[in-house]
């Protein structure tokens, strides 16, 4: 039993669950997973190939239209198409392929070990920081760097320093240049500078890998395609910049909605010592939030709108999350747990509200977060009460 289960205060969302309940939740989730694994087949393969096909045709078409971006209608259509293509490439395709969701197809062209994405961060580094660290230590304060990306304070348990006063601004800048933010994050740039590790051979190798990737990416969008556009060069350059900006803002918003909205729990380092499979599942359930919306919206988020299902089963094909969501939600209900979800505007606003609120120390505003703070040693898990 971890400290997480020992806690009996009102704000512990799992105080009513016995260790047996938690292991039973684990078994039920394992069964949901096994069902999908047994059923996945030709139609799933056809789905991802279709998405890739549409994405490539849309990108080719948009870039072809942008060759004439001197004409405003061409600029608008090309930029819109390229933005959508880049969003699809990053989310429904890149993120999910690199998670290994399609490895079972044994197609070397759609495989986590061979995929490279249209993003500043090299696939290899992203897979390490995202798949291995974030998905393992989800929402564990001090372990999961996704909690504020090392530049923000998004949980009461993170210590406040004056730097965070400006975090709404940091967050906005990070949103605009999100792909570079991810690249710096995957390099653990801040930590490595602080610990003076920028001269080590490992860091140098990773840095040069990232810079090489950024150079190729920038050459493509800001040199080659503009030059190919001839007289439309500057317009194409602007179009590509806007497409990258649009993609960055979109992915940043979607990802903020995954773990930052009010109602999502965070966990202490100690609480995951000796964690069982069932406890790991429960942490993923309480540490993630979904977004409601149309089918097109789900695809555009790479089905990260089913963040809860994704965190429970990171390597199941994304097209299956929608199908299992009702079963997962019913499980939450049966065990008296809160399935956090909301529309995109609501969740984005909620996440931004938290970023703004926590830019100040906990007790700075009249809003009371923890009416009866526990002695520090007993505080194993904190729910951000909305």
């Amino acid at each position: 039993m971890t400290v997480l289960q020992k806690k009996t205060t009102a704000e512990n969302p799992i105080a009513h669950l016995t260790p047996e309940d938690i292991e039973q939740i684990g078994r039920e989730l394992d069964a949901i997973r096994a069902e999908v694994v047994a059923a996945r087949g030709e139609s799933d393969a056809a789905y991802i190939r279709k998405v890739i096909d549409v994405q490539r045709k849309l990108e080719l078409g948009s870039r072809a239209v942008l060759l004439f971006s001197l004409f405003p209608p061409a600029w608008i259509a090309g930029t819109a198409g390229l933005t959508v293509a880049k969003i699809l490439e990053n989310m429904e395709i890149g993120h999910n392929v690199m998670h290994g969701q399609w490895d079972w197809m044994r197609d070397p062209k759609i495989h986590s070990t061979t995929w490279e994405w249209d993003n500043a961060s090299p696939a290899e580094q992203w897979k390490h920081s995202h798949n291995e660290l974030h998905h393992t230590y989800t929402n564990v304060v001090g372990k999961d760097n996704d909690l504020g990306y090392g530049i923000m304070r998004v949980d009461e348990d993170q210590k406040w320093v004056p730097f965070y006063v400006a975090q709404p601004l940091w967050n906005f800048i990070n949103a605009c240049f999100f792909e570079y933010g991810i690249a710096a994050y995957d390099l653990e740039l801040g930590k490595n500078i602080k610990r003076k590790r920028t001269k080590t051979p490992e860091f140098k190798a990773k840095l040069s890998q990232t810079l090489r990737k950024i150079r190729k990416q920038a050459t493509k969008d800001y040199v080659v395609h503009p030059l190919l556009s001839g007289p439309s060069a500057l317009n194409t350059l602007a179009a590509n910049f806007v497409a990258n900006l649009g993609r960055n803002l979109w992915t940043h918003s979607v990802i903020m909605c995954g773990h930052f909205p009010e109602g999502v729990s965070t966990f202490e380092k100690k609480s995951i010592e000796g964690e069982t499979k069932g406890e790991w599942y429960v942490r993923q359930m309480l540490g993630s939030a979904n977004i409601t919306g149309s089918r097109a919206m789900h695809i555009a988020t790479g089905n990260l709108s089913y963040q809860i299902e994704h965190h429970l089963f990171p390597d199941l094909p994304s097209n299956r999350y929608q199908e299992i969501a009702p079963k997962v939600e019913a499980l939450f209900e049966r065990y008296g747990l809160t399935y956090t979800t909301g529309s995109l505007p609501k969740q984005v606003a909620s996440a931004w509200h938290k970023v703004i609120r926590l830019s100040l120390p906990n007790d700075f505003l009249s809003r009371k977060v923890n009416p009866t703070p526990l002695p520090a040693r007993e505080r194993s898990e904190t729910t951000v009460a909305a």
């Binding site: 996945r40 087949g41 030709e42 139609s43 799933d44 393969a45 056809a46 096909d53 490539r56 045709k57 080719l60 290994g100 490895d103 079972w104 197809m105 044994r106 197609d107 070397p108 062209k109 759609i110 495989h111 070990t113 061979t114 995929w115 490279e116 994405w117 249209d118 990737k213 190729k216 990416q217 050459t219 493509k220 040199v223 080659v224 395609h225 190919l228």
Partner: protein, 379 residues
Amino acid sequence: MATTTAFVRLTSPGTPRWMTSLKDGARKVAELAATPLVPSDYLDIIDPLRRGADLRGRIESIHAETADAATIVIRPGADWAGHVPGQYVRIGIDVDGVRQWRAYSLTHGPRADGRISVTVKAVPEGKVSNHLVHDARVGTLVHLEQAAGEFVLPPEGGKFLFVTAGSGITPVIGMLRNLFPVTDSGAVALPRSAAYDITVVHVAPTEPDSIFLANLRELDRAGLITLVARYDDTHGVLDVADLVDLVPDLDARVTLACGPAGLLDALGAHHAERGLELLTEQFRVATLVTGEGGTVSFDKSGIALEATGDRPILDQAEDAGVLMPSGCRMGVCFGCVLPLREGVVRDLRSGDITTAVEGDGVNIQTCISAAAGPCRIDH
């Protein structure tokens, strides 16, 4: 995904230098414009069978041969380099969404229309063979490798005996069709085939199960080959000692045999005793010895798994999510070979042990090798 396939055909020796550098320049620009993909990823959308593409083919027709066997005619990509009858081709096809590779004998000589064909017999539990015979659809794109295999007839002719069992007939049919094409007006004796004197002893469990039987009989009727068909249910299981009665001039012939391990082993002993030449192709894995297994780790993917000693490393690595090269899965085609950097493996057919010490790179066939201790594989 970075593949290394060039998308432009390299220029021929007679091309002027300026054109070569123009093409090189165009290729570089296309690569810069396509990153992080490669130009061929986009060109594949338009024409997956073009020159310079990864070798693929499209299924053009599927003909039933018997209730459980079918001939699949495939239009190969532009880079198909041709084949010699008797060779096999490795085909990758998606079954239930999963890419599966198998090796099949090419059942014909080079065709005027440039197509290739394989004849597949659906075997019980055979994922790919059942799919190809019963469910495959015309128009499906398949993945190919160039033809390979040394089970071919010498070009100068001679006296031969083919001993085939079940689907072991397929490479032999390829050779026979090349020697004696069957047209609407019957089998044709070509001048180039006059130097071949061929007897075929074909074994099958029952008569209707014998694929290509009609074909063999037609050649026999035309006097082009001598056919000895043996069915287990009427004649009893073939005893290799009876061969000398079935084929009176056995000692004057070179034997080519294709079938299950049991038959090939018996033939091997029989021919060795008589001092006869034998060329074989084995199509089945007979598991003889199993051992204790061990941890198998893959250098490049970083994956490590606890492998048991009774199943091939290939199967267990695939189950663990490693993207493995594979082919016939019977120890024939060498499509699954990977360097063993360190460790011990056991050949599941013979029980033979292969050992690699640090610094080595012993090539092992992962489809017939099981871990016999900890193994480190370069993949």
